[in-house]
């Protein structure tokens, strides 16, 4: 920060200070405007900015140090700059999630994702067709969450509908993901009817579009998705997910038909392998229009292989824009997978800072990195990460609407 005269010494912050500040990071981020207005009125005299002297005419005589071999220019040799136009033959399909009453559902708004015509943020003149959307997670059974995540939602963890409501009202979720983990035959083996009831409760509790997460068992998920697809006909749910395992278990067609007949969208999940992603999509095209398919190419945590996710998304997006229609679908990222990294949740030596900050930073960096690779829809958890991502998406999407702020002199600035 710019150092203010006679206020706040430049003493380095100790580990304890940071720790005491840590829980406030969310408030601080939310209150940025207020803090500035309340506590800081800027006057020129307040700032210790160094303004460089402009007496370039007084430069020392260097020619004696190094006799010039070339005839040096005395004026700037003027060149233009014409950046290449980023025009691609392909375009990412638009997919609509959620449906309003008029559209046959009960959501307050539908959300459209996709539609990109360039790699993400590659062309200054072409903002994303639709800003990436953010979904927040809800689980239908007690799960073990890292402490830093748990404390934000501890009071609602027993009640998925309440949890969903909190995610929308308090944390501003565009979309809610309900993970029906309890349906796993190896856990509680909850019935498809019970799972449908949970989804129904959430549809009542919130009016945003929903993502329905299964347990990963190709047979059980098919039964659960089919039941829910019929129960919530017309709501344009995103069923998370369908896999090649389902094709092998011969349940893929059942789910795809249920989604088609009841107007839902499928999330096609594959593990960091574009040939598999294409194959799964080809199988789905037999049942459902491509405008009802979103891809999950797998999100790995920073430090645990995020680079593979980054590169698979860059490759997929580039191939799609170059004309590979089998990859021209919007993509989702489970940024919450960042919390698998020990650096996100583990208590570490003091020099690495408190996990109250490391955790949300990990989720944020995971999401931002993949935002640059073209993600259209994020599944997230930590409120500070959600706030930051939303902020960056807004800034990056509004280029050209306002003049850029003037550059400040960082070379001569006093910084505490």
């Amino acid at each position: 920060m710019v150092h203010k005269k006679n206020k706040e010494t430049a003493a380095p912050v100790s580990g304890n200070d940071v720790l005491s500040l840590a829980p406030r990071i969310l408030e601080l981020l939310q209150g940025v405007q207020q803090l500035e207005l309340e506590n800081f009125s800027m006057e020129i005299g307040d700032l210790d900015l160094f303004i460089p002297s402009q007496n370039f005419g007084n430069s020392p005589n260097h020619s004696s140090l190094h006799p010039p071999l070339l005839k040096k220019p005395t004026e700037i040799l003027r060149e233009s700059f014409q950046p290449r136009e980023a025009r691609y033959p392909g375009q990412i399909r638009e997919v609509v999630l959620g449906a309003t009453k008029a559209q046959g559902g009960s959501r307050a708004h539908a959300i459209t994702i996709g539609g990109s015509t360039t790699p993400a943020y590659a062309d200054a003149l072409i903002p994303p067709a639709h800003p990436p959307a953010i979904s927040l997670d809800v689980f239908d059974m007690k799960v073990s969450l890292p402490k830093v995540l748990r404390e934000n939602v501890a009071e609602v963890m027993e009640d998925p509908a309440e949890w969903a409501r909190m995610n929308v009202k308090k944390f501003g979720a565009d979309i809610i993901t309900i993970h029906l983990m309890s349906t796993d035959p190896l856990f509680l083996n909850t019935s498809p009817q019970q799972a449908a009831k949970t989804v129904e409760d959430i549809l009542q509790a919130v009016d945003v579009p929903l993502i329905i997460g299964g347990c990963g068992d190709p047979k059980k998920d098919a039964a659960v998705f089919t039941e829910i697809a019929a129960m919530a006909a017309g709501e344009r749910l995103l069923l998370n997910s369908v896999t090649l395992d389902m094709a092998e278990a011969k349940t893929l067609g059942t789910v795809a038909k249920a989604a088609r007949d009841n107007g839902h969208v499928l999330l096609a999940f594959t593990g960091l392998e574009l040939n598999n992603a294409k194959e799964l999509n080809r199988r789905l095209y037999e049942y459902i229009p491509p405008e009802q398919i979103v891809m999950d190419l797998t999100t790995v945590a920073l430090g645990y292989g995020l680079e593979y996710s980054f590169t698979i998304h860059e490759r997929a997006r580039y191939a799609a824009l170059m004309g590979d229609t089998e990859l021209a679908h919007p993509v989702i990222s489970a940024a919450t997978n960042a919390w698998a990294a020990r650096e996100a949740w583990m208590a570490m030596a003091p020099e690495y800072g408190p996990r109250e900050l490391r955790g949300p930073v990990w989720e944020t960096v995971n999401a931002l990195t993949l935002l640059l690779a073209g993600i259209d829809l994020f599944m997230m958890m930590h409120p500070a990460s959600v706030l930051t991502l939303r902020d960056v998406i807004h800034r990056l999407g509004s280029k050209g609407t306002t003049a850029p702020p003037p550059a400040r002199d960082w070379v001569g600035a006093r910084i505490s």
């Binding site: 700037i76 040799l77 430090g303 590169t311 698998a340 930073v361 931002l368 990195t369 640059l372 960082w410």
Partner: protein, 482 residues
């Protein structure tokens, strides 16, 4: 693109379009094997893949091949020039990029991270801060990640003050230095103190370029070229400085954080695209990003400023910055940068998986624990690094999960009771130990029942993260008899 840029595009070939034959034609073709390859064609293939360099072919550097050697250098030169600053083993090489996207080839020369000191700090504070910069490290899958350079800012505007601090820093550390001042008189005072340290000069502008060019030539130092987002002016300055005889240039289109972030992101992307797609030589220099710029805002919360610096740094690193100047020394700010840098600069052509099979750690005996994990490279390296760090004596079965991590492999049924049965069988681990107890990863806990049935082994559920293994084994091994 301009005519000049179009001509470049015709002359230069992308690394992906260069075939081993193109390279072979320029080699001595004697199959002398001095490079330890079986013949010149094999050498050419490795050269194109970036596995070997021109200097690995000794005969090529003899007088008779001078022309071919020079042509080969031009053919294989990266569209983004490499620039080096600092000296000795810690010197920083930045740029040297061949491609826009990592998967097109691989990224070379990881983004270097410099931390600032300024010339109004006390001698004691400067030394303490430089020590902290040098000592900040993190052990990641067996590698030590560290910071790379010190940027010294002239806040005083006074040449004598600046010179003193530059001298103090240089006397404290061997790390490469970046001298930051727009005033040539101040810059000269700094450079004079460290004539043999080959520092990076920040910066030439449209106002001071003549004097800064003279200094860069006189002290044989690489030079940053700065404009406030004006890319035409940036190209103009590069051309002008080239005409002065300077080629070791670094580009700084100016870092704007927060509201200005889109401008900065687009400037870096546009410059790197022009270099790697259009082979524009004037754009073909390493790029500088300055996350430190967030600290000039009116924001008063330190944590918010550090948070912003973290975000700005990670975005700039993903989007082509070859050098970052930062201010925060907090671990939670730097850790994601150091790890993401390491990841981003791994070779994407290398497989995601390691070979399945059994690994032996320390000196295991008949009663030592048997662990199992998946063959995803980073999973394996993490577990391996934790076992080695703790000095454990054990066997580790690496199951073939198609290169998926434990969590993904369990979800995708690649890591299952059946695959564990076949891993036990294929590794013949029964011959190595006299017990039948297997420790599975905590993230695979749900497999324990079915695996016990399928294998006939007693299954223990280990920690979710392998960092917990030493403690786990201390408490749970040997297992109590049933």
């Amino acid at each position: 693109m301009t005519d000049g840029m179009a001509q470049q595009a015709q002359r230069k070939k992308s690394i992906r379009e260069i075939s081993p034959i193109d390279v072979y034609k320029l080699l001595p073709k004697t199959n002398c094997q001095e490079c330890n390859e079986s013949n010149c064609m094999a050498f050419a293939t490795k050269l194109v893949n970036g596995e070997l360099t021109i200097s690995d072919c000794p005969p090529l550097h003899m007088a008779e091949y001078q022309a071919a050697c020079s042509d080969l250098g031009l053919l294989l030169a990266p569209p983004v020039q490499a620039v080096t600053f600092g000296t000795g083993s810690q010197k920083c090489t930045i740029g040297g990029k061949y491609v826009l996207q990592r998967h097109e080839f691989t990224y070379h020369n990881p983004t270097m991270i410099a931390i600032d000191v300024d010339d109004l700090m006390s001698d004691e504070d400067v030394r303490a801060r430089v020590h902290r910069i040098e000592q900040f490290t993190y052990n990641y899958i067996g590698r030590t990640l560290a910071l790379n350079a010190v940027a010294i800012r002239s806040v005083s505007g006074d040449p004598v003050t600046f010179g003193k601090v530059v001298k103090a820093v240089a006397g404290t550390t061997g790390l490469p230095l970046i001298l930051c001042s727009l005033d040539p008189a101040v810059m000269k005072a700094g450079l004079t103190e460290i004539k043999d340290r080959h520092p990076l000069i920040y910066t030439a502008t449209d106002k001071n370029w003549k004097s800064m060019a003279d200094l860069a030539l006189a002290f044989n130092a690489p030079l940053v070229v700065h404009t406030d987002g004006d890319l035409a002016l940036l190209r103009s300055l590069v051309k002008t400085l080239n005409a002065c005889g300077l080629t070791d240039l670094v580009l700084d289109p100016g870092t704007l954080a927060e509201d200005g972030l889109p401008e900065t992101l687009h400037a870096l992307t546009t410059l790197r695209t022009a270099a790697c797609r259009d082979f524009d030589e004037l754009s073909g220099h390493p790029l500088l990003g300055v996350p430190l710029a967030v600290w000039t805002s009116e924001e008063i919360s330190m944590d918010v400023l550090k948070w912003r610096e973290t975000i700005t740094a990670s975005i700039l690193m993903s989007r082509y910055a070859d050098l970052l100047i930062m201010h925060s020394l907090d671990g939670w700010v730097l850790l994601p940068q150091l790890i993401w840098r390491f990841n981003l600069y791994t070779d994407p052509r290398k497989p995601v998986s390691v070979e399945a099979g059994i690994r032996t750690f320390g000196h295991p005996g008949k009663n030592s624990p048997v662990l199992i994990t998946t063959n995803y490279a980073l999973t394996f390296f993490t577990v391996e690094s934790d076992i080695k760090a703790a000095g454990l004596d054990c066997y580790l079965i690496v199951a073939d999960t198609g290169g998926l991590s434990v969590e993904s492999a369990v979800a995708g049924r690649y890591f299952s009771a059946e695959s564990i049965v076949s891993a036990i069988k294929e590794t013949a681990v029964e011959d190595l130990v006299s017990h039948k107890t297997l420790i599975i990863p905590g993230l695979a806990a749900r497999l324990s029942g079915e695996t016990e049935e399928a294998t006939g082994w007693k299954i223990l559920v280990g920690p979710k993260d392998s960092s917990g293994l030493p403690q786990y084994l201390k408490e749970r091994w040997p297992p109590h008899p049933a």
